[in-house]
Every structure is written in C-alpha cells, then in structure tokens.
C-alpha cells in the first residue's frame, strides 16, 4: 500500500479515537445528569435517608461530606505546605531526601482501600477513635498529603529564581523570603492544587468505609454542642459521606428506589466535583491577574 494512503488511514483512526473518548465522557455526563436531576428536589437534598421505604433523602450525607472535607483540609493544608516548603527550599540532595521523595511517590500510589484498612487498624481500633469523622479525616489526610506536598513543591520551584535572589540580596532572611516573596507568587498554583485535592477527597469512598463508617446517627441540626452525639458538628461521631452512601445503597439494595437515589446522589457528587474544577480554574486565573498586573 501507498505510504500516503496509510498516513490517511492512521489520521482517520486517530480522529475516531478522539471522537470516541469525547462521546464516552458526554455519554457519562448526560446519563448522570438526565437520570439524576429528575430526582433532585429540596426534600431530597435536606431529608435524612430512609432505611426500608422509598423517598429518602441525602441531607446528612451532603453535610457530612462537606464537614469531613473541612476537617481533612484543616490537617492536610498546613502539613502539605510545610512538607512542600521543606522539599523545595531546605532539603539537601542526600539519602534522606531521596527516601522522602520515594516514599511520597509510593504513598500517592497506594490503593485507597489499603489506606482505609490501615486507618481501621490504627485510628479506629488501636487508638480507640471508633468509626468517626475524625478517623476519616486522618485517613484522607494520608491519602492527600503526597499530592499536596508535590503541588506546593512544584509551585515554589516555579517561582523565578531572580525574585528569590533579589530578596535574599537585600538581606532578608530565608524564612521571610519564603513567606513574603515566594509563597504569594506560588499561591495560584497552590490554591488550584488544593481545590483539586479537595475534589478528590470529596469523591473518595473506599478509604472511608472502614474509618468514617457507613451509617449516620440521627442528627439534630439545632444542637450545636460539639460533644453531643446527635450534634452535626461533633467530630467523633460516625458519618457516611455521599460517595459511601451511593455505594451502600447500591450494594445493600434494601430500599426500593435505590437506583433513583443513587443516580441523584451521583449527580450531586458530579456537580460538586465539576464545581470544584471550575472554581480552581477561576480562582487560579483571578489570582494570576491580581499578582501579575496582566
């Protein structure tokens, strides 16, 4: 066959592949949104789930997801940024740094269920925290820390070296240079990364099944005492998140309208994740504009 004909055929094949992938994504999104949106109502978003009857909502699950996310980020952000600063600025190229990098790489590729089982063993059983939001947040921290460290490190390394040197040349201390010069410049990258990390934590289920638990106690949204067992803001109560809930109703199948609830809950989840993605782009652009006077 003529080489030119083969070239044409190859081009056509690549176009087909691109079209197939786009179709898959749009198929997925349309399916979730069309099937899910019809079941979303104010009641669905606020009511607690039913155990055996149809018509339950996912109110507590949505709250749990966001609350857990908040707790997780509370742990992840300081540790992640600290680790990133260390690796980018203070670490020397020796064995320990090499080991740390290797470990971060391993940690980021651990299957989430293994991290979850580790949480079950340490936080839930050994440290006696039980199935609680707190254990869940710690596990998600382990899960997200490598990503957060890597993002911070990359953002700091992307800071132009002249700016750093200018600051150091003016006699400003290394630490002050990091906090006042480098971190503000690296901020857009860090924030974008943080939001993407948040999106990942939001949809995570396997790591949470054995740590935050698969059920939620009846919540009283008027009780704001953080130590009461039915208070929504008590971090030591068990809590099922949206993603865990989707898995649970699908695999238990006790409620008659499981498929519809799962579809609607998936739609809520996907919309939240899309929202996180758009938010991260938007904030990234906004801050970039603010700092670069572009």
């Amino acid at each position: 066959m003529n080489v030119k004909v083969i070239d044409k055929i190859a081009t056509v094949i690549f176009y087909t592949i691109a079209i197939i992938i786009t179709l898959i994504l749009f198929g997925l999104l349309c399916f979730i949104l069309v099937k899910g949106l019809s079941g979303i109502s104010w009641d669905f978003l606020t009511k607690p789930p039913e155990n055996l009857r149809a018509g339950g909502g996912v109110g507590p699950q949505i709250f749990n997801s966001f609350f857990l996310l908040l707790l997780t980020m509370l742990f992840t952000i300081p540790l992640g940024i600290g680790g990133g600063i260390y690796l980018a600025e203070y670490s020397k190229p020796n064995t320990i740094t090499y080991a740390a990098r290797l470990v971060i790489e391993v940690l980021s590729s651990l299957p989430s269920i293994v991290v979850g089982l580790f949480g079950l063993l340490i936080f839930v059983q050994k440290l006696g925290m039980g199935f609680s939001l707190f254990s869940g947040a710690l596990v998600l921290m382990i899960f997200n820390l490598p990503l957060m460290i890597r993002i911070t490190e990359q953002s700091l390394r992307a800071v132009p070296v002249e700016q750093k040197e200018a600051s150091l040349a003016m006699g400003i201390s290394h630490w002050k240079t990091i906090t006042s010069i480098m971190l503000p410049i690296a901020l857009p990258g860090i924030i974008t990364g943080t939001i993407l990390t948040a999106g990942r934590a939001f949809g995570e289920a396997a790591a949470l099944m054995f740590t935050a638990g698969m059920s939620s106690p009846p919540l009283d949204f008027t009780n704001w005492n953080p130590l009461a067992p039915n208070s929504p803001i008590n971090p030591f109560r068990p809590a099922s998140t949206l993603a865990v809930h989707i898995w649970k109703i699908n695999s238990e199948g006790l409620i008659p309208d499981a498929a519809q609830i799962a579809a609607s809950a998936s739609a809520v989840l996907v919309i939240c994740v899309l929202f996180f993605n758009i938010l991260s782009r938007w904030i990234g652009k906004l801050i970039y504009k603010k700092f670069t006077a572009a």
Binding site: D7, I17, A18, T22, L29, L79, F118, P146, S251, N277
Partner: protein, 276 residues
C-alpha cells in the same frame, strides 16, 4: 519526615497483620497464593486459597490496560500531533473531567449501563469480568492519556522536523520516531494506570459479581482482592484466621503497589539514559 513515618507504620502494621496468617494460624504460604478453594467458614477444614482473587485482580487489570492503552495513546497522539488546537481546547478539559469523576460514580454507571448491556447482548448475569474490564478501562484512560501526552509534548521538536525533512509522512514520523523516543514515559503512564486499576475497589466490586471461584470465561463473575476486602472485612472478627487472611490480601495489594513504583523508577532511569 512525616510521610516516611506514615509509610513505615503502614507497612509495618499491615505486614504484621498479614504475615500472622502464615506464622500464627499456620496457613501454608503456597496454599494461600495458589490454592483455588476459598472456604474460610467451613467447620472442619477451612480452606484459604486466595488464587481466584489474585487471578481476578490480575486478569481484570491486564484486560483493562489492553483495552485502554490503544485508545489513550491514540488520544495522546491526537492531542499532541494531529490536531493540537482541538486537543488543547476540547480533549484536554474532557480528560481532566474524567479524572475528577469519583470512582463510585463510575461503578454506578457500570452497574446501570454496562451490566445490563452485557446481560442483554451476551447473556449470563452481566456482572462479569468484561464489565469490570470496561469500567476500569474508562477509569484509567485519562491517567494514561495525560502522561503519554506530556511525554510526546516534551520531545524536542528537532526530531519531528528532521523526520519530516527526510520526507516521512506524519504516520511514519509518529510510529518510527516519536513513539519509540517517548516509549519509556508512555510505559510509565501505562504502569500508573495499571496501579490504579489494581487498587481500585468499589467501582470494580459493584460490577464484577463477586463469585468466589475461578472464572471460565470473560463473561463469568469473579472476585478481586479489593472486592473481597470491601465485602468481608466488616463481617469478620479481628484476630480470627479468616480476618488475618484478609489482611494478607491487603499486604499483597501493598506489595504490588511497591512493585509498580519500582517498575516506574526503572523506566524513568531508562528514559534518562536514552537522552544522553
């Protein structure tokens, strides 16, 4: 520092739990890895052959990668070489969105589209190796695509120009020059995808049927290491042989992710040697 401690602690605890199956409960390692009978609750002679699950994990991972690789490398080539404009504007956001979709949602989609589709087209239960393969293939597609895309993008443009200057067509340039040069990095992407597929728990568990024996065809239900862990871990009592056997499976998962990282490291070294 903290992450070193975390990984050491994780490895230590899971290893100590996982190894106690063999040391404390006296299960033969060979029987565990290659035994095909899984009857942990049998009264007189409980059997702990995890081979069906190990086989399930490996087969579903390999099949998913086989299905996903041509599509994703093709997409990466499309984005990098054939139509950069469309690729950057359209396909790249699409790929990023696919990464962001949570795995339970993939599982749910598999449950409501792929499982009935396989049931109606090929017969059987629908919960099968094939469904797991398709769900995983879609899940790892964005991973492989984005790594391969970066690999192709970072190639020096002189290579491509030289090839065109010799009168090669675009396809000849792609498969004679660009793919061989970027191969170590593309392989890294594939291994990353494999690692993700191997460790994925819920999405697989929802569509694969969880029958605890060896499959005889691609349309049979199987179990994977991860699916059996999700299902059984909360039903067993800590300290029993049954429970310890589950921890041994978690240990296998952990060790496999070390293996994947090793492969990626070796590939990374390979690509640096090529550059010199």
């Amino acid at each position: 520092m903290l992450s070193i401690i975390i990984i050491t602690v994780i490895t230590y605890f899971i290893a100590s739990k996982g190894l106690s199956t063999f040391f404390k409960n006296g299960i033969n390692l060979f029987d565990f890895l290659f035994g095909t009978q899984w009857k942990p609750e049998h009264d007189t002679t409980p059997l702990f052959g995890a081979f069906p699950f190990i086989f399930g994990s490996f087969s579903v991972t390999i099949l998913a990668v086989l299905l996903s690789t041509p599509l994703s490398v093709g997409a990466a080539i499309f984005m990098a070489e054939i139509s950069p404009k469309w690729g950057a504007k359209f396909l790249q956001p699409v790929i990023e969105l696919l990464i962001g979709i949570p795995s339970v949602v993939y599982g749910f989609i598999g449950l409501s589209i792929i499982v009935p589709f396989i049931r109606n087209t090929f017969g059987g239960m629908g919960f099968s190796l094939a469904s797991g393969m398709i769900v995983l293939a879609i899940m790892i597609l964005p991973t492989i695509t984005s790594v391969s895309y970066d690999a192709l993008k970072s190639l020096p443009s002189g290579l491509k120009d030289a090839s065109y200057a010799l009168g090669a067509t675009r396809w000849q340039t792609i498969y004679r020059v660009l793919i061989p040069t970027a191969l170590p990095n593309i392989l890294t992407g594939i291994v990353l995808g494999m690692a993700r597929a191997f460790g994925e728990a819920l999405a697989v568990q929802m569509v694969i049927g969880n029958v605890q024996r060896l499959p005889s065809s691609i349309l049979d239900s199987v179990s994977t290491l991860t699916s059996i862990l999700t299902l059984e871990m909360s039903n067993t009592i800590a300290g029993t042989t049954y429970n310890n056997a589950l921890w041994s499976m978690a240990l296998i998962l952990l060790l496999m992710s070390f293996v994947f990282i090793m492969i990626i490291r070796i590939l990374g070294k390979g690509s640096k040697l090529n550059e010199r």
